[in-house]
Symmetry: C2
Subunit: 155 residues, 2 copies
Protein backbone atom coordinates (compact mmCIF):
# COMPACT_ATOMS: atom_id res chain seq x y z
CA UNK A 1 0.00 0.00 0.00
CA UNK A 2 1.30 3.40 -0.92
CA UNK A 3 1.81 6.03 1.72
CA UNK A 4 -0.32 8.39 -0.33
CA UNK A 5 -3.21 5.96 0.07
CA UNK A 6 -2.65 5.81 3.79
CA UNK A 7 -2.62 9.56 4.00
CA UNK A 8 -5.70 9.81 1.87
CA UNK A 9 -7.54 7.36 4.09
CA UNK A 10 -6.42 9.20 7.19
CA UNK A 11 -7.54 12.56 5.88
CA UNK A 12 -10.81 11.09 4.70
CA UNK A 13 -11.44 9.78 8.18
CA UNK A 14 -10.92 13.22 9.62
CA UNK A 15 -8.39 11.87 12.04
CA UNK A 16 -7.25 13.97 14.89
CA UNK A 17 -3.61 14.82 15.11
CA UNK A 18 -1.78 12.33 17.26
CA UNK A 19 0.21 14.73 19.36
CA UNK A 20 -1.95 16.26 22.05
CA UNK A 21 0.64 19.00 22.48
CA UNK A 22 -0.60 20.18 19.11
CA UNK A 23 -4.23 19.43 19.85
CA UNK A 24 -6.52 22.28 20.81
CA UNK A 25 -7.84 22.25 24.39
CA UNK A 26 -11.34 22.05 22.92
CA UNK A 27 -10.48 18.82 21.12
CA UNK A 28 -8.72 17.32 24.12
CA UNK A 29 -11.86 17.90 26.21
CA UNK A 30 -14.05 16.50 23.45
CA UNK A 31 -12.04 13.30 23.16
CA UNK A 32 -11.71 12.68 26.88
CA UNK A 33 -15.43 13.18 27.39
CA UNK A 34 -16.09 10.78 24.51
CA UNK A 35 -13.86 8.18 26.14
CA UNK A 36 -15.60 8.43 29.51
CA UNK A 37 -19.02 8.47 27.86
CA UNK A 38 -18.42 5.35 25.79
CA UNK A 39 -16.90 3.64 28.81
CA UNK A 40 -20.03 4.48 30.83
CA UNK A 41 -22.16 2.76 28.18
CA UNK A 42 -20.08 -0.36 28.70
CA UNK A 43 -20.24 -0.08 32.49
CA UNK A 44 -24.00 0.22 32.03
CA UNK A 45 -24.11 -3.01 30.06
CA UNK A 46 -22.24 -4.76 32.89
CA UNK A 47 -24.66 -3.32 35.46
CA UNK A 48 -27.57 -4.54 33.34
CA UNK A 49 -26.30 -8.10 33.06
CA UNK A 50 -24.73 -8.44 36.50
CA UNK A 51 -27.17 -6.57 38.73
CA UNK A 52 -30.39 -5.36 37.12
CA UNK A 53 -31.17 -8.49 35.13
CA UNK A 54 -28.79 -11.37 35.90
CA UNK A 55 -30.86 -13.68 33.68
CA UNK A 56 -29.55 -11.67 30.73
CA UNK A 57 -25.91 -12.50 31.57
CA UNK A 58 -23.98 -13.15 28.38
CA UNK A 59 -20.35 -14.18 28.83
CA UNK A 60 -19.18 -12.83 25.49
CA UNK A 61 -20.93 -9.47 25.83
CA UNK A 62 -19.61 -9.04 29.35
CA UNK A 63 -16.08 -9.87 28.25
CA UNK A 64 -16.36 -7.42 25.35
CA UNK A 65 -17.52 -4.64 27.66
CA UNK A 66 -14.69 -5.37 30.09
CA UNK A 67 -12.18 -5.32 27.22
CA UNK A 68 -13.43 -1.87 26.20
CA UNK A 69 -13.18 -0.55 29.75
CA UNK A 70 -9.63 -1.89 30.18
CA UNK A 71 -8.56 -0.58 26.77
CA UNK A 72 -9.91 2.86 27.62
CA UNK A 73 -8.18 2.82 31.01
CA UNK A 74 -4.88 1.99 29.30
CA UNK A 75 -5.22 4.42 26.41
CA UNK A 76 -3.18 7.23 27.92
CA UNK A 77 -6.03 9.66 28.53
CA UNK A 78 -3.73 11.76 30.69
CA UNK A 79 -2.59 13.30 27.42
CA UNK A 80 -6.07 14.81 27.11
CA UNK A 81 -5.69 16.94 30.24
CA UNK A 82 -3.15 19.39 28.82
CA UNK A 83 -2.79 23.12 29.44
CA UNK A 84 -5.99 25.05 28.83
CA UNK A 85 -8.26 22.06 29.50
CA UNK A 86 -8.96 23.06 33.10
CA UNK A 87 -11.92 25.13 31.96
CA UNK A 88 -14.52 25.16 29.20
CA UNK A 89 -12.92 25.60 25.77
CA UNK A 90 -14.77 26.50 22.59
CA UNK A 91 -17.96 24.47 22.41
CA UNK A 92 -16.75 21.97 25.00
CA UNK A 93 -17.73 22.16 28.65
CA UNK A 94 -15.75 20.28 31.28
CA UNK A 95 -16.71 19.20 34.78
CA UNK A 96 -13.16 18.68 35.99
CA UNK A 97 -12.29 20.63 39.13
CA UNK A 98 -9.30 22.97 39.32
CA UNK A 99 -7.89 20.74 42.09
CA UNK A 100 -7.32 18.01 39.51
CA UNK A 101 -4.51 20.04 37.97
CA UNK A 102 -3.06 21.04 41.31
CA UNK A 103 -2.75 17.55 42.79
CA UNK A 104 -0.89 15.45 40.20
CA UNK A 105 0.25 12.88 42.76
CA UNK A 106 -3.30 12.24 43.94
CA UNK A 107 -4.54 12.05 40.33
CA UNK A 108 -1.79 9.55 39.52
CA UNK A 109 -2.75 7.45 42.53
CA UNK A 110 -6.44 7.38 41.63
CA UNK A 111 -5.73 6.77 37.95
CA UNK A 112 -3.38 3.91 38.81
CA UNK A 113 -6.01 2.35 41.07
CA UNK A 114 -8.61 2.58 38.31
CA UNK A 115 -6.28 1.02 35.73
CA UNK A 116 -5.53 -1.86 38.11
CA UNK A 117 -9.22 -2.55 38.77
CA UNK A 118 -10.07 -2.29 35.05
CA UNK A 119 -7.28 -4.73 34.17
CA UNK A 120 -8.51 -7.12 36.86
CA UNK A 121 -12.06 -6.75 35.52
CA UNK A 122 -10.86 -7.71 32.05
CA UNK A 123 -9.12 -10.78 33.45
CA UNK A 124 -12.02 -12.00 35.57
CA UNK A 125 -14.54 -11.26 32.80
CA UNK A 126 -12.63 -13.61 30.53
CA UNK A 127 -13.40 -16.46 32.96
CA UNK A 128 -17.17 -16.04 32.61
CA UNK A 129 -17.69 -16.40 36.37
CA UNK A 130 -20.64 -14.05 36.90
CA UNK A 131 -20.34 -13.88 40.68
CA UNK A 132 -16.64 -13.02 40.54
CA UNK A 133 -17.21 -10.50 37.75
CA UNK A 134 -19.89 -8.79 39.82
CA UNK A 135 -17.48 -8.33 42.71
CA UNK A 136 -14.80 -6.92 40.44
CA UNK A 137 -17.34 -4.71 38.67
CA UNK A 138 -18.14 -3.19 42.06
CA UNK A 139 -14.46 -2.55 42.77
CA UNK A 140 -14.00 -0.95 39.37
CA UNK A 141 -17.03 1.29 39.87
CA UNK A 142 -15.68 2.37 43.24
CA UNK A 143 -12.35 3.31 41.66
CA UNK A 144 -14.26 5.48 39.14
CA UNK A 145 -16.29 7.03 41.93
CA UNK A 146 -13.22 7.83 44.03
CA UNK A 147 -11.98 10.17 41.29
CA UNK A 148 -15.42 11.58 40.52
CA UNK A 149 -16.00 12.41 44.18
CA UNK A 150 -12.71 14.24 44.44
CA UNK A 151 -12.25 15.87 41.07
CA UNK A 152 -15.56 16.10 39.21
CA UNK A 153 -18.10 18.87 39.62
CA UNK A 154 -21.65 17.71 40.29
CA UNK A 155 -22.93 19.24 37.07
CA UNK B 1 -19.39 -6.46 48.91
CA UNK B 2 -23.07 -5.84 49.39
CA UNK B 3 -25.36 -5.44 46.41
CA UNK B 4 -26.55 -2.16 47.87
CA UNK B 5 -23.00 -0.87 47.59
CA UNK B 6 -22.81 -1.99 43.98
CA UNK B 7 -26.06 -0.25 43.22
CA UNK B 8 -24.95 2.87 45.03
CA UNK B 9 -21.74 2.96 43.04
CA UNK B 10 -23.64 2.40 39.80
CA UNK B 11 -26.10 5.18 40.53
CA UNK B 12 -23.29 7.48 41.59
CA UNK B 13 -21.57 6.83 38.29
CA UNK B 14 -24.69 7.84 36.44
CA UNK B 15 -24.55 4.63 34.45
CA UNK B 16 -26.67 4.21 31.41
CA UNK B 17 -29.17 1.42 31.37
CA UNK B 18 -27.73 -1.66 29.77
CA UNK B 19 -30.60 -2.54 27.50
CA UNK B 20 -30.61 -0.31 24.45
CA UNK B 21 -34.24 -1.32 23.87
CA UNK B 22 -34.94 0.83 26.90
CA UNK B 23 -32.44 3.51 25.97
CA UNK B 24 -33.69 6.72 24.43
CA UNK B 25 -32.71 7.34 20.78
CA UNK B 26 -30.93 10.50 21.97
CA UNK B 27 -28.72 8.47 24.29
CA UNK B 28 -28.03 5.78 21.71
CA UNK B 29 -26.79 8.47 19.29
CA UNK B 30 -24.74 10.11 22.04
CA UNK B 31 -22.99 6.87 22.96
CA UNK B 32 -22.29 5.72 19.42
CA UNK B 33 -20.85 9.13 18.52
CA UNK B 34 -18.69 8.98 21.65
CA UNK B 35 -17.41 5.56 20.62
CA UNK B 36 -16.47 6.68 17.12
CA UNK B 37 -14.96 9.90 18.44
CA UNK B 38 -12.74 8.19 20.99
CA UNK B 39 -11.74 5.62 18.40
CA UNK B 40 -10.75 8.43 16.03
CA UNK B 41 -8.44 9.83 18.69
CA UNK B 42 -6.72 6.46 18.83
CA UNK B 43 -6.56 6.18 15.03
CA UNK B 44 -5.01 9.64 15.11
CA UNK B 45 -2.32 8.48 17.53
CA UNK B 46 -1.48 5.62 15.17
CA UNK B 47 -1.32 8.01 12.22
CA UNK B 48 1.00 10.27 14.22
CA UNK B 49 3.43 7.51 15.14
CA UNK B 50 3.26 5.48 11.93
CA UNK B 51 3.04 8.16 9.25
CA UNK B 52 3.42 11.76 10.38
CA UNK B 53 6.35 11.22 12.72
CA UNK B 54 7.75 7.67 12.60
CA UNK B 55 10.56 8.69 14.96
CA UNK B 56 7.92 8.95 17.68
CA UNK B 57 6.91 5.27 17.29
CA UNK B 58 6.26 3.77 20.70
CA UNK B 59 5.37 0.07 20.72
CA UNK B 60 3.35 0.20 23.93
CA UNK B 61 1.34 3.26 22.92
CA UNK B 62 0.61 1.81 19.51
CA UNK B 63 -0.51 -1.49 21.02
CA UNK B 64 -2.73 0.37 23.51
CA UNK B 65 -4.36 2.36 20.71
CA UNK B 66 -4.93 -0.80 18.68
CA UNK B 67 -6.45 -2.51 21.71
CA UNK B 68 -8.90 0.37 22.09
CA UNK B 69 -9.88 0.25 18.43
CA UNK B 70 -10.44 -3.52 18.51
CA UNK B 71 -12.38 -3.33 21.77
CA UNK B 72 -14.62 -0.63 20.29
CA UNK B 73 -15.15 -2.65 17.13
CA UNK B 74 -16.20 -5.65 19.21
CA UNK B 75 -18.38 -3.75 21.68
CA UNK B 76 -21.69 -4.41 19.95
CA UNK B 77 -22.33 -0.87 18.74
CA UNK B 78 -25.09 -2.18 16.50
CA UNK B 79 -27.29 -1.93 19.60
CA UNK B 80 -26.92 1.85 19.36
CA UNK B 81 -28.66 2.08 15.99
CA UNK B 82 -32.15 1.26 17.26
CA UNK B 83 -35.51 2.64 16.13
CA UNK B 84 -35.66 6.42 16.16
CA UNK B 85 -31.90 6.87 15.75
CA UNK B 86 -32.12 7.41 11.99
CA UNK B 87 -32.54 11.13 12.55
CA UNK B 88 -31.52 13.81 15.04
CA UNK B 89 -32.98 13.15 18.49
CA UNK B 90 -33.12 15.65 21.33
CA UNK B 91 -29.80 17.45 21.53
CA UNK B 92 -28.02 14.83 19.45
CA UNK B 93 -27.39 15.23 15.75
CA UNK B 94 -26.51 12.25 13.60
CA UNK B 95 -24.80 12.02 10.23
CA UNK B 96 -26.00 8.53 9.43
CA UNK B 97 -27.84 8.23 6.12
CA UNK B 98 -31.32 6.73 5.85
CA UNK B 99 -29.86 4.03 3.59
CA UNK B 100 -27.99 2.62 6.58
CA UNK B 101 -31.28 1.38 8.05
CA UNK B 102 -32.57 0.12 4.70
CA UNK B 103 -29.56 -2.03 3.80
CA UNK B 104 -28.90 -4.25 6.83
CA UNK B 105 -27.02 -6.86 4.80
CA UNK B 106 -24.61 -4.26 3.42
CA UNK B 107 -24.14 -2.77 6.89
CA UNK B 108 -23.42 -6.21 8.28
CA UNK B 109 -20.85 -6.85 5.55
CA UNK B 110 -19.05 -3.54 6.12
CA UNK B 111 -19.17 -3.90 9.91
CA UNK B 112 -17.79 -7.43 9.68
CA UNK B 113 -14.95 -6.24 7.46
CA UNK B 114 -14.10 -3.47 9.92
CA UNK B 115 -14.13 -5.85 12.88
CA UNK B 116 -11.80 -8.24 11.04
CA UNK B 117 -9.33 -5.47 10.18
CA UNK B 118 -9.45 -4.07 13.72
CA UNK B 119 -8.78 -7.51 15.20
CA UNK B 120 -5.88 -7.99 12.81
CA UNK B 121 -4.57 -4.55 13.75
CA UNK B 122 -4.62 -5.52 17.42
CA UNK B 123 -2.69 -8.71 16.63
CA UNK B 124 -0.04 -7.09 14.49
CA UNK B 125 0.32 -4.16 16.89
CA UNK B 126 1.23 -6.61 19.64
CA UNK B 127 4.29 -7.65 17.60
CA UNK B 128 5.74 -4.14 17.56
CA UNK B 129 6.65 -4.42 13.86
CA UNK B 130 6.11 -0.81 12.75
CA UNK B 131 6.14 -1.56 9.01
CA UNK B 132 3.56 -4.32 9.34
CA UNK B 133 1.43 -2.22 11.66
CA UNK B 134 1.45 0.62 9.13
CA UNK B 135 0.11 -1.69 6.42
CA UNK B 136 -2.64 -2.99 8.69
CA UNK B 137 -3.45 0.54 9.88
CA UNK B 138 -4.08 1.44 6.25
CA UNK B 139 -6.40 -1.53 5.78
CA UNK B 140 -8.29 -0.66 8.94
CA UNK B 141 -8.69 2.96 7.84
CA UNK B 142 -10.00 1.82 4.49
CA UNK B 143 -12.61 -0.37 6.19
CA UNK B 144 -13.75 2.67 8.17
CA UNK B 145 -13.84 4.77 5.03
CA UNK B 146 -15.88 2.17 3.12
CA UNK B 147 -18.75 2.64 5.56
CA UNK B 148 -18.34 6.40 5.82
CA UNK B 149 -18.44 6.76 2.03
CA UNK B 150 -21.63 4.75 1.81
CA UNK B 151 -23.57 5.63 4.92
CA UNK B 152 -22.30 8.88 6.43
CA UNK B 153 -23.41 12.35 5.38
CA UNK B 154 -20.60 14.76 4.59
CA UNK B 155 -21.56 17.07 7.44
Amino acid sequence: MKITNLLFAAVALGLATGASAQMKPEDQIKFRKAGYSFMSWNMGKLKGQLIDNPASFNKDQVAAAANLIAATANSGMGALFGPGTDKDAGSQKTRVKAEFFQQPDEVKKLAGAFIKEANDLQKVAATGDAAAIKVQFGKTGESCKACHDKFRKDD
